[in-house]
Symmetry: C2
Subunit: 117 residues, 2 copies
């Protein structure tokens, strides 16, 4: 059993093209022995966003703090807030944006790329 | 993209042998289209516990509210609280207990049994 203190994990700036003011930390991942599931914590600062993009794996999301905007594959925007969870299918276009005044924080859980076929 | 309101999801009483005063709700799972990952929310009432048991899949855990006790495969007990995340390996004995006065809440994320080989 591995126990991590979330606040001792360094946050990395997300440098992916199309990302703005996004930080990510891996709460549980391969370094902890997790071969199939990676639990990541994202913070999008006010005015920031992830890329509007797609990939061949899914997202399981839970809002952790405050609120933001989820953009779906049709470009439709939905405000989401703490108390909500989301599922984004593999290959579906999506984006998370923060047009509000406080950090938008969420978990984004993915299958470990190394264990995907 | 599927968006769920966590508080609208019904909690089921966990009836597994060895469980006491444990409720579980699936925040994101197969009914939402998630084929590989199931995100579950557990609440253990004061005095309650999960079974001390093992299974062939892992747990990725994040404490959501208050505190509890995690028991590892050696029977060692560690107090865990909000702000901490855990990884439990496949086949490792483990238990979660709540000897405190407030509900102990945590996420427990697992691979979907239907997608496991």
């Amino acid at each position: 059993m591995k126990i991590n203190n979330n606040n001792e994990i360094a946050a990395a700036v997300v440098t992916m093209e199309g990302a703005k003011d996004v930080r990510m930390k891996i709460l549980i991942g391969p370094d902890d022995g997790s071969e199939n599931i990676i639990m990541r914590h994202f913070t999008i600062a006010p005015g920031g966003h992830t890329p509007f993009h797609q990939h061949n794996y899914e997202h399981v999301v839970k809002v952790e703090a405050n609120r933001g905007i989820a953009v779906d594959d049709h470009g439709n925007e939905t405000e989401i807030a703490r108390g909500q969870s989301l599922y984004v299918s593999p290959d579906a276009m999506h984006q998370f944006r923060n047009p509000f005044n406080e950090d938008f924080e969420f978990l984004c859980i993915i299958p470990n790329p190394a264990s995907r076929v």
